[in-house]
């Protein structure tokens, strides 16, 4: 709530002419906007472009921001439309979940050297690979749900979907992630049991 109030205070300051304060808003949300853009574009250069575009669009439209929802939700909606526009322009091929090329396959050989190398890789790398292999919408929903502190309704607003659709997609994404992370989670599940 404090964050929400501070965001609103910064927006008011910008609208009152103190435009330099916008830098603080960018700093506060840049990591998440960039990550969200990355979920759609799948590469850092395009994600940076989308994130920049998003912040410029948000700045232009700041006067129209209805302060009834979170600023972050509004910003993520702009990120989503910017990313979709960029994807359409670049005609990026979306990565299919069934595309074997992108599935996470941590172990495919019995060699000791490879096994050691895999062990050295952090679980986060696998997790990110697994998320990258999801459909852009699903990857964005996972990110918004787990790291964006957004409810299903808010995610729906940001991605222009019904909350029920978000829920179905979230479930589908988690099921796919569970399959992909099976190897990684095998030991942890045993520990939990």
């Amino acid at each position: 709530m404090q964050q929400q109030e501070t965001d609103l205070a910064l927006i008011t300051a910008v609208l009152n002419g103190n435009t330099a304060v916008y830098s603080e808003l960018v700093k506060r949300h840049e990591r998440f906007v960039f990550t969200l853009a990355l979920r759609f574009t799948k590469n850092r250069e395009d994600a940076e472009e989308v994130a920049q575009d998003c912040f410029v669009k948000a700045y232009r439209a700041l006067g129209t921001f209805r302060q009834t929802s979170k600023f972050s939700t509004w910003l993520y909606a702009i990120t989503y439309t910017s990313a979709m526009t960029a994807l359409r322009k670049k005609r990026l091929t979306t990565i299919s979940l069934d595309d074997e090329e992108y599935t996470v396959q941590p172990v495919n050989s019995g060699s000791a050297h490879e096994a050691d190398a895999i062990e050295k890789k952090s679980a986060y790398v696998y997790l990110n690979q697994a998320i990258d292999s999801l459909l852009p919408d699903d990857a964005a929903i996972i990110t918004l749900f787990y790291k964006g502190e957004q409810s299903l309704e808010e995610i729906g607003k940001a991605l222009f979907m019904e909350p029920n659709t978000v829920k179905v997609k979230l479930h589908r994404a988690r099921t796919r992630l569970k399959e992909k992370l099976q190897y990684l989670l095998k030991d942890e599940v045993k520990e939990l049991i």
Binding site: V26, A51, V56, T64, L192, I193
Partner: protein, 157 residues
Amino acid sequence: MKTIEEQIWDYIDDNLTIEEKKAIAAKIASDQTYRTLYQELLAVNLHLGKLEIDMPPMAFNRKVMDLVGQEIAPVSLKTKVDLRIIYAVAGFFILTLSAILIYAISQTHFTASAINVPDISIDFSRYLTPLFIKIFLFTDLLIGFIYLDGFLRRKKI
């Protein structure tokens, strides 16, 4: 009908009523299938909770502020819409419509003998000069452009 996995995800996400929650908790405690799946999904959930967000390049903020510097400073929508303009436009249309209405009435010849209509015939041809019509159309055009400008600005987002 929800699958077991959906039920357990709802349980983990706390999307259930108290009764439903109790029912799922009981099943997890008593049913091996539920318990195993619960442990698996809990592990997935824990991992997803540890998800890290990416960092944009160092100069990102500066680049954004450079781009933003080239833009017109935003103002609140309330500031943008000046009520006086709205009242002026409304006044203009009310006057125009009233003039047309009075003209129409004055040109009508009531035949009912019971109604005593005073003679209010006004010679509008004196006022409806080509100059007046040009001014009228130009004002309409101007209002149209103002509206179009506002509409396009909104569409730009």
